[in-house]
């Protein structure tokens, strides 16, 4: 493999990884607070692309405004899911909440299949993403260049929110100990709603950027990215925001690099992530940044 193709693949891996990172943070925020795998998160990711798609296609809005509206709608969907489906089960057995999450996810996917159909639609990309750049002699597509930059900018805003604002402090406190935080006078329900809004907005941004990279969108497009992003959250240490980001980049790079080095294994690229998950659960189940918590009676 020449240096330029390696560099291209590296950039490619970074850009896919940054998308997994965006998506993984939504999973890890919710899991950290509620201990719930939000299966519907991957469908919010899918909805983001469709919201933007219809804003552009039907209301003929400019690309950036459509995307912003789409992301806003995603946050709204996330909050609605929490309010309608998860909150009534907050004190129910864990397995009930998980089943509900699977149900919501399947509901959105099938509603999508029924309303917009299974046939993939072409997602319109802005000119910026179609440009081609030459960096260090390597031919880099605009998408590959801009997606990680935008993602990293978004992640920086997120880190600021989580680690430097009162809301972020409340979120971290709730994930450490919900009851004590409630006693400190924090409105826990509202913090959870904000966490869902934040995570879903990130999923929406991730979805739109994903659609710029792979411009065929369909109602089931969220399943694999969502599952890999959750794997990324596990690899990074579930519940940890920085860990989710690191995990996302690891999964993205590993996936792209394995396919780059062994091109005849392309069909199995999803299986590698599974293998990685199993290995991580065997060797370091708490993840890279995770701390091992001993359950006490």
């Amino acid at each position: 493999m020449t240096w330029t193709t390696f560099f291209q693949q590296l950039m490619n891996g970074v850009s896919v990884g940054s998308l997994y990172a965006l998506l993984a943070i939504g999973y890890t925020l919710v899991y950290g607070i509620l201990g719930l795998i939000n299966f519907a998160h991957s469908d919010v990711f899918m909805l983001g692309t469709y919201f933007a798609f219809f804003m552009i296609g039907i209301f003929l809005l400019p690309w950036w405004i459509s995307v912003l509206i789409g992301v806003g709608l995603c946050a709204l969907v996330g909050v609605t899911i929490e309010r309608v489906a998860y909150r009534p089960l907050r004190n129910a057995p864990r397995i009930s909440a998980l089943i509900t999450a699977v149900g919501v996810s399947f509901f959105i996917e099938n509603l999508g299949l029924v309303t917009v159909g299974a046939r993939p639609k072409g997602f319109p990309r802005p000119e910026l993403m179609k440009n081609v750049y030459f960096i260090a002699g390597a031919r880099i597509q605009g998408v590959t260049f801009w997606v990680p930059l935008i993602s990293i900018a978004v992640l920086l805003v997120l880190f600021y929110l989580v680690y430097r604002t009162k809301l972020g402090m409340a979120m971290r406190a709730v994930s450490k100990d919900m009851e004590t935080t409630r006693l400190m006078g924090v409105n826990v329900d509202r913090v959870i709603l904000y966490a869902f809004a934040l995570g879903s907005a990130l999923a929406g941004i991730g979805g739109v950027l994903w659609a710029c990279k792979y411009p065929q969108i369909n109602p089931l497009m969220g399943i694999f990215p969502g599952w890999k992003a959750f794997t990324a959250a596990v690899v990074g240490g579930i519940g940890n925001v920085v860990g989710a980001m690191i995990g996302g980049f690891i999964i993205g790079l590993a996936e792209i690099m394995i396919v780059a080095f062994f091109p005849n294994l392309t069909g199995y690229r999803d299986a590698f992530v599974f293998a990685l998950l199993i290995i991580f659960l065997l060797v370091k189940p708490s993840g890279i940044m995770g701390e091992t918590l001993k359950e006490k009676v």
Binding site: L98, I99, T100, V104, W227, D270, V273, L281, L282, E295
Partner: protein, 356 residues
């Protein structure tokens, strides 16, 4: 006259005989469509009861039955498909050795099913080993991934699975004798297992892992055994299914299959074996009825074209609503036991009589 155990065993035996007579009558007089639904119902019973053993009894959240059913299905398909047929089906790439050179005679069908189940159990141990040692929901995410990965593998391992085209012309060995017997013995075995000390240990794990461990229950071993056993029956159900519809392709055992089973066990009551049995049969018929939803309808001046896929929308909405408002399902954790039945039959007069 008899002890309770003997009497209940006798009841069970009578039920078995009645079922067999029913099968004999159904094979002779029932139309093919109904027989097909009953066959599907029995396969759902096997898979749902096995699934409930993990999700309902042990309280571990697995999303893998579709993967295990696929393993069982492909195993049975590869073993039972006649060699001549294999050469016809695998025209893209020839089938790899040793499957291309032999196939089981019909008499060995049972061994193909058992092998399919065992391989599925092997897959379960592969996923269960890393995930069941840990607390939390790693099993859910690993099994979900496994189910999707099996489909990826089925699409890509063309010399073994014939890829997306699938395998056609599998001999239709499955009939009501097979499905009813397997369903009966699965329910019988799992129900007895649940009532054994092993089953009580599983329930203890469901209620409180820390307390169960403190009582000396080896969490990992119990969970793994329950998970593998569940996968075994799922594999058998998959094998029966492909020899019923005589074809298998990667789209046959998608996540929808797991989802159907999830609805069955939730509706029947998580943790109720008899509940799952009854709802599995109901579900097979409900699924046929709901085909109506997907057929074209005329309401006023509007003609709604048939909406394929509407069933799954309805099912998932039902699942979420059930979880929020009616979490215990039809049976909760109760079992329909012979005591209940006799209480209903004799209007409570002899409900607890004759226990000496």
């Amino acid at each position: 006259m008899f002890t309770r155990e003997t009497r209940e065993l006798l009841f069970t035996f009578v039920l078995f005989v009645l079922l067999m007579v029913g099968v004999w009558l159904a094979q002779r007089y029932l139309n093919a469509y109904l027989v097909r639904i009953f066959n599907t119902a029995c396969i759902y019973v096997i898979a749902a009861v096995a699934y409930n053993l993990v999700n309902g009894i042990t309280g571990q959240f697995s999303l893998g039955p579709n993967g295990f059913m696929a393993i069982g299905g492909y195993t049975v398909a590869l073993l039972m498909l006649p060699v001549v047929q294999k050469q016809e089906v695998y025209f893209l790439q020839p089938l790899i050795w040793p499957f291309n050179s032999f196939s089981f005679p019909p008499a060995l069908f049972i061994f193909a099913l058992l092998l399919g189940g065992l391989l599925a159990a092997g897959g379960a141990i592969l996923i269960g080993f890393p995930t069941l040692r840990l607390r939390g929901d790693y099993l859910a995410i690993a099994t979900f991934g496994f189910g999707e990965i099996i489909i990826v593998l089925a699409n890509n391992l063309i010399p073994l699975t014939n890829g997306a085209l699938g395998i056609k012309g599998i001999p239709e060995y499955t009939n009501l004798w097979w499905t009813v017997n397997w369903a009966f013995w699965t329910v019988f075995l799992v129900k007895n297992l649940v009532n054994s000390s092993f089953g009580r240990a599983l329930k203890a794990i469901r209620e409180d892992e820390v307390a169960a461990e403190a009582m000396g229950i080896n969490l990992f071993r119990h969970k793994l055994l329950a998970f593998a056993l569940s996968a075994f029956f799922a594999g058998v159900a998959g094998g029966l299914f492909v020899t019923l519809i005589s074809t298998i392709s990667p789209t046959l055992f998608t996540f929808s299959m797991t989802f159907n089973l999830l609805i069955i066990i939730v509706l029947g009551g998580l943790g109720s074996i008899t509940g799952s049995t009854i709802t599995a049969v109901l579900f097979a018929f409900l699924q046929e009825l709901l085909r109506e939803v997907e057929a074209p309808h005329v309401i006023g001046s509007w003609t709604f074209p048939g909406i394929p896929g509407m069933r799954m929308v309805v099912f998932s909405a039902i699942l979420v609503i059930l979880m929020i408002f009616y979490r215990r399902g039809l049976f909760g954790r109760q079992e329909l036991s012979w005591q209940h039945v006799s209480r209903i039959l004799w209007w409570g007069k002899r409900a607890h009589g004759g226990q000496s």
